[in-house]
């Protein structure tokens, strides 16, 4: 299951709507091993495309360097589909390289840049196997345990 706080969920949706008809992408980083999606980082889609996304390679390096320095990992990797359902495409599956991440897919096909509901779904993608999981949106993440 993926648990997200309302603000992060809404920010991902807003990013997807803003970048429509191009795909939007980004990560939510969190402390390594915690499975806590705490810090949203919107990325530029270097492909600038309605059918493809790719983090810019220099931005990617900076992002991982920053996460490394903070002892974080990408808890969520998200992107949007702008004309199809919120389900991983064959390309998404083939290029999924973060076995510990929740892959979030948002589809803006229905309302585009406008207000209105979007499909918001989450998956694990490991060795080409896709497993959908529940998304729970809470007002705030529970406090970090000190254990």
């Amino acid at each position: 299951m993926l648990r997200l706080d309302r603000a992060t969920h809404d920010a991902i949706v807003a990013h997807a709507k803003r970048d429509h008809p191009d795909e939007a992408c980004g990560v939510v980083a969190g402390p390594a091993g915690s499975d806590r999606a705490e810090r949203l980082v919107e990325m530029v889609n270097a492909a600038g495309s309605p059918t493809f996304y790719e983090f810019d390679t220099t931005d990617l390096f900076q992002l991982y360097k920053e996460m490394d320095a903070n002892d974080e990992e990408p808890v969520v990797v998200y992107h949007s589909h702008t004309a199809t359902e919120a389900y991983p495409s064959r390309t998404d599956i083939g290029l999924a390289m973060e076995p510990n991440a929740h892959y979030v897919l948002v589809s803006t096909r229905e309302h585009g840049n406008n207000d209105g509901p979007v499909e918001f779904r989450s998956y694990r993608i490991v060795d080409g196997e896709v497993t959908e999981e529940e998304v729970e949106v809470v007002e705030h993440l529970p406090k970090r345990s000190t254990a």
Binding site: F52, E54, L60, F61, E73, S89, D92, L95, M97, E98
Partner: protein
Amino acid sequence: MAIEVRIPTILRTYTDGEKSVTGEGANLSALIDDLEGSHPGLKDRLLDGADLRRFVNVYVNDEDVRFLGGLEAELSDGDQVVVLPAVAGG
């Protein structure tokens, strides 16, 4: 001559779970051959034939090797190499 190579999560199956390994080589191509000796299978995940895989990024001292001559990028003692898979999809 020792070069530190940072390994992404997905490739740590080839390094016994290690986040970073050391190798040597006068350029990236030689370094990858050297790493293959100690971590068999790694080379195939980095190269597609004679080129770097399209969705694998390698950085030498913070710079994408595609701007440094790719596999010919020169290395020297103390350089840091980072491997990061692209975050991409359709």
